[in-house]
């Protein structure tokens, strides 16, 4: 346990040092940490605060403002379904229900086998191809029930 958290700290400090001299470094650091670990380990927030000479409250405020940042690890895949107005008008609500049923999890949940995490997202900027989704960073347009079933099967492989 000890060595795991020391390892996280060491890797986090490497990332923080890389960005701390840049202008407005907090968001790039949080991005990079999430990229590195798949989430932002909470024990890294005081390290960021110390390096940037801001309070840990401030780091927490920014971290918690953005839904995209996770405070715990996600599944091996992350499926994001758009729930904003344009996608809703093209039937995203029904797809969302289907997805939850197929995977057996609610929003922000991860399947018990750790395969996939389901997250809502409010607009992917892909309204012209609504309903939209994003799987592991790749956008998917014109999502329909069939494609969703495929995805659900794919991520479980």
């Amino acid at each position: 346990m000890q060595s795991a958290s020391t390892d996280i700290a060491a890797r986090a400090i490497g990332i923080i040092d890389q960005f701390k001299g840049k202008e407005g470094p907090l968001l790039p650091i949080l991005h990079e940490l999430q990229g590195e670990f798949g989430y932002v380990p909470q024990e890294t927030l005081p390290l960021i605060a110390h390096a940037l000479n801001i309070s840990r409250a401030e780091v927490h405020g920014v971290f918690s403002f953005y839904h995209d940042y996770r405070d715990h690890p996600a599944g091996r895949h992350v499926l994001k379904l758009c729930r904003a107005e344009a996608c809703q008008s093209m039937g995203s609500d029904a797809l969302a229900d289907r997805a939850r049923q197929l995977l057996g999890i609610d929003w922000h949940g991860t399947t018990t086998d750790g395969a996939v995490t389901l997250e809502p997202v409010y607009c992917l900027g892909l309204c012209a191809c609504a309903p939209a989704a994003m799987l592991d960073g790749e956008v998917i347009g014109r999502l329909d029930a069939e494609r969703l079933d495929e995805i659900a099967a794919e991520v479980r492989l």
């Binding site: 005081p46 605060a49 801001i54 401030e58 403002f65």
Partner: protein, 958 residues
């Protein structure tokens, strides 16, 4: 009597000198450019409804309640964020605005509990006021929807609901009542500068979070109370208000802790203190406070307070309660007996820096007129006496040169041997505010204090010198200034003696004062020192703030003079934003010095050898004052051990705990035949006392305190003394018992006598203080409203005097037996010997003194964090627990001295300042080693203290 009402203008004042005129609701208003429309309206007496705005913090524009309409402009802008402009025509109440406001309030109230009648803020709630102001009658949305209010909805737990956080001993955080106006967050950032709070989440999930969703006590919160003051609802509420209810009247008074001298409103219900709220018109604090002044007043009603006079023949006897008359008679007889038996000079007195000017004046008058000698001294002896000496010699007055507002105009701040965030927190907040606006900071301190690096503040240079080498470092700063030609020749030629300057310049320029030459001695990197000197000399307005880390050394006075030299050489005297500013430790240490508490000085710093001054008092008091200085505290103790000093009257000072070399102090006290302690509690000194006279708190008397900026602030009585008498009355009754004809009926009469006899106070009277709030001395014909900044056109002594400051190492040296240097300091939550703060909930932050030690030194000695360690010096030894930290350098250890069980002063030596005898607390050579627990001395001392505090229970006469 009613509550002192303060107007909330909604946004801070604009400092612009350009004025603009506009019309608000048909009224023409002229305000400085940059004033918000909200503030402009309030200036005209028109209150725009608001929730997220308050004039302690910048406008935020989030509550959407303060909207207004401007003719010729579209929309409904927020009045807090819209600046006033010439010719605007503004309406604050139109049909459209009323509808919007009502709608906004409906939304707020739909997620707020409707328990107004049982709410602690009932009667003092801005949300309640605004609901009334906008005419809210119903809430169309109902209360059943998503909310933060109810623990359960339809039998299912509401996961938006959060329980109350009651971790802080003084206030509660009830998230259910929060409207997320972020006033608390902004107060913590802008006013206090700690940044302990944030808004976490977003949208409907937004809420106030201390630290990273922690409770208040575990977060970075320093409990200054700014957030509680800013909160418009009952979300953040003083526990005392929850317990007692709303106050019904208040009086403005002055805090009795540190030398900042914050003004507070003491809010009362009858004679019960409900809370202390910082006063916005207070010129020292400008509406801010710290955990001590704001919350730590519980000692005033603590059960340990002694309320009846007590006597005992021997210090091994238990105390016996007596009547006041018997106590006075006993003291008068004893002192007369001692003087008859051992001579006139065998008794003396110590005035208190915790008491008022008037009380201090009376104690020194009692000594000079009643005892007939000059054996009077005060605790400034052990803190800022070198300031008095050094600044008097160089500038001509024994006081700081600026007011606290001056820091707002400073470009480069040099903090030497002071730790403002702990010792002078309200000043630190004002300083940090200026630093966040871009001023540069140089810290000269052996320890990495918080100012060196804490959120949004970082020192440009930190000269981490070895304790005891101040003179070398400051002289070397001057070396750089002079040799690199950075001095202000024009200023020096105009204000100082050019010949003297040249002599001094030649002295500091010599190579042995160069940063490179002193590095080995001081441990300061020469390049850092050079950069610091250049920054200070060329960075604009340079101000020096210093504390006891400068004065409490064998060369304390020399360092003060070196600082004065540096300020003069760089032309940083006599205007806003510059100056030499001693941060005074105690609420009235400046005042007690002003009032003639020193054995060589009559009130107003006039030497007792000066016949014309003596003459004034001789005539008024009908006595003949001795023309030779009396004994200083250490001399009194020495004389006691020698058997020539036999009796002492100590008002409000615990010399056993606060003075150096505890064993010597104890021996001195033990040798006396009549020790009279006048205090709130049976303090450590009282263990050696024969008579105990109960004291009164600052809440129980009228008077004045003089703070570090020479500001004379009123102290107002808000409750009757529990012990029956204010301290000045006790001193007067004692004087009467000794045959003096004193008939003061109010402290204002004492102040009138001070004004009559002391030129620098000539203009001071209670009427003037009532009118002006406060004044800074000198206050006389030349400056009828006081003097915020001194030496504006010339120095008080004429020409500023440059003095050679040769570094002489202290005799207290490290060696093989004592290889480490101990230095001492304070912590935020505790105050000095802790007699007061230890009797409040402040102990939650600091329940014991710890020894800070560098990991390197700890490892060598096999010490782990939290271990009991023995610390020993040439004087003695004590034990406490270690705290391993990199705040101190290897070779240096540090501790606080707030707890009597630690007895840090058992270790400190009797070396002292060459000029003033101020003890060298800040440097002691010590050894640290593992220990199993308290030292023999601590065990013995505890037993003796326990024995000594016994009070004989008299047979109850039922």
């Amino acid at each position: 009597m009613s509550l002192v009402h303060e107007i909330d203008y909604g946004t801070p004042a604009s400092l612009s000198e350009k004025m603009v005129t506009l019309t608000i609701d048909g009224n023409e208003v002229t305000v400085p450019e940059g004033t918000s429309l909200m503030r402009a309206a309030m200036e005209a007496g028109i209150q725009v409804p608001k929730l997220c705005a308050t004039d302690m913090v910048d406008a935020f524009g989030s509550c959407r309640l303060c909207l207004i309409e401007i003719e010729g402009r579209n929309g409904t802008p927020a009045s807090c964020t819209t600046p006033a402009m010439e010719g605007l025509v503004v309406h604050t109440q139109t049909k459209r605005l009323k509808d919007i406001r009502k709608g906004v309030m409906e939304l707020y109230i739909s997620d707020h509990p409707l328990d107004c009648l049982t709410c602690a803020a009932n009667g003092d709630c801005e949300l309640q006021d605004m609901a009334g102001a906008v005419g809210l009658r119903d809430v169309r949305y109902g209360y059943e929807g998503d909310n933060h209010v109810f623990t359960k909805a339809d039998g299912i737990a509401n996961d938006r609901w959060m329980p109350k956080d009651e971790s802080n001993p003084y206030f509660t955080y009830d998230p259910a009542k929060c409207i997320v106006c972020s006033r608390c967050v902004r107060a913590c950032e802008e006013v206090q500068g700690t940044f302990a709070l944030t808004i976490e989440g977003r949208g409907f999930s937004s809420r106030v979070s201390p630290g990273m969703h922690e409770n208040f006590l575990d977060s970075e919160c320093v409990s200054c109370g700014a957030c509680v003051q800013a909160c418009p609802t009952a979300t953040l509420t003083e526990k005392s208000v929850i317990q007692i209810g709303q106050p019904e009247h208040s009086k403005v008074t002055t805090c009795a802790y540190c030398g900042v001298g914050c003004s507070f409103k003491a809010e009362m219900r009858g004679e019960e203190l409900v809370r202390m709220v910082p006063y916005k018109d207070g010129k020292a604090n400008r509406g801010h406070s710290c955990v001590k002044g704001r919350f730590a007043y519980g000692y005033s009603t603590h059960k340990d307070r002694i309320l009846n006079p007590m006597i005992r023949e021997k210090i091994t006897d238990p105390w016996r309660e007596v009547s006041w008359d018997e106590a006075y008679k006993y003291v008068a007889n004893e002192f007369r007996r001692l003087q008859y038996q051992y001579g006139r000079n065998s008794v003396g007195g110590i005035t208190s820096s915790r008491c008022t000017n008037e009380e201090t004046y009376l104690v020194q008058k009692l000594v000079r007129a009643g005892f007939g000698n000059n054996n009077v001294d005060t605790c400034a002896r052990v803190c800022h006496s070198p300031t008095g000496y050094g600044l008097k010699t160089t500038f001509g007055t024994s006081a700081g040169t600026q007011d606290f507002d001056s820091v707002e105009h400073t470009d480069v701040v040099m903090v030497i041997g002071a730790n403002p965030t702990d010792g002078h927190p309200v000043f630190a907040s004002r300083l940090k505010k200026r630093l966040r606006k871009g001023a540069k900071l140089i810290v000269v301190d052996p320890r990495r204090i918080d100012l060196v690096r804490s959120p949004h503040v970082s020192a440009a240079q930190h000269l981490q010198l070895r304790p005891g080498t101040n003179v070398a470092v400051v002289t070397s700063l001057a070396h750089v200034v002079v040799t690199e030609g950075l001095f202000d020749e024009k200023f020096i030629r105009e204000r100082c003696d050019w010949e003297e300057f040249q002599d001094w310049a030649a002295f500091v320029s010599s190579p042995e004062h160069s940063p490179e030459a002193i590095e080995e001695l001081t441990g300061v990197n020469p390049q850092t020192l050079r950069e610091a000197a250049r920054l200070f000399a060329t960075g604009g307005n340079g101000a020096i703030y210093y504390g006891l880390g400068v004065t409490e050394h064998s060369q304390g006075s020399t360092t003060v003079m070196a600082i004065a030299n540096l300020a003069m050489a760089t032309g940083n005297i006599g205007r806003k934003g510059v100056g030499v500013n001693p941060l005074r430790g105690q609420n009235n240490v400046q005042g007690s010095c002003d009032m003639g508490s020193f054995p060589h000085e009559l009130p107003g710093y006039r030497h007792v050898s000066d016949e014309s001054t003596r003459d004034i008092f001789d005539k008024l008091w009908g006595v003949k004052i001795q023309d030779e200085p009396g004994l200083r505290i250490p001399n009194m103790l020495d004389a006691a051990v020698d058997g020539t000093f036999k009796g002492i009257y100590i008002q409000g000072e615990d010399i056993l705990q606060s003075d150096p070399d505890t064993k010597h102090v104890a021996a001195g006290l033990e040798a006396m035949e009549c020790v009279v302690v006048h205090d709130l509690f049976l303090n450590e000194t009282a263990n050696y006392a024969h008579v105990f006279l109960p004291g009164s708190t600052f809440l129980e008397k009228d008077g004045t305190f003089t703070n570090a900026e020479r500001r004379i602030n009123r102290v107002r009585k808000v409750m009757s003394p529990l012990n029956g008498y204010a301290d000045w009355e006790v001193t007067q009754n004692l004087a009467k018992a000794m045959g003096l004809n004193w008939n003061y009926t109010h402290p204002s009469q004492v102040m009138d006598e001070i004004a009559m006899t002391t030129p620098s106070f000539a203009g001071v009277s209670y009427e003037l203080l009532e009118k002006e709030g406060s004044v800074q001395w000198p206050c006389n014909e030349k400056a009828p409203l006081g003097t915020p900044i001194m030496h504006i056109d010339g120095f008080a002594r004429g020409k500023g005097k440059f003095i050679r400051t040769e570094y002489v190492a202290t005799d207290e040296r490290t060696g093989p037996r004592f290889p480490l240097l101990l230095t001492t300091g304070r912590i935020l939550s505790q105050y000095n010997v802790g007699a007061q703060t230890r009797r409040t909930d402040n102990v939650m932050w600091h329940e014991e003194d710890r020894l800070e030690i560098h990991a390197h030194d700890a490892e060598n000695r096999g010490i782990r964090d939290g271990d009991w360690v023995k610390i020993s010096s040439r004087s003695g030894e004590t034990t406490l627990r270690a705290l391993i930290t990199d705040r101190v350098s290897p070779g240096v250890v540090y501790t606080t001295f707030h707890h009597p069980t630690t007895q840090a002063n058992v270790i400190t030596t009797d070396f002292s300042d060459w000029a003033t005898n101020c003890p060298e607390y800040k440097v002691t050579a010590v050894q640290v080693g593992a220990s199993n627990g308290p030292s023999d001395w601590q065990v013995q001392y505890d037993e003796q203290a326990r024995q000594s505090r016994r009070i004989k229970i008299l047979d109850a006469a039922e």
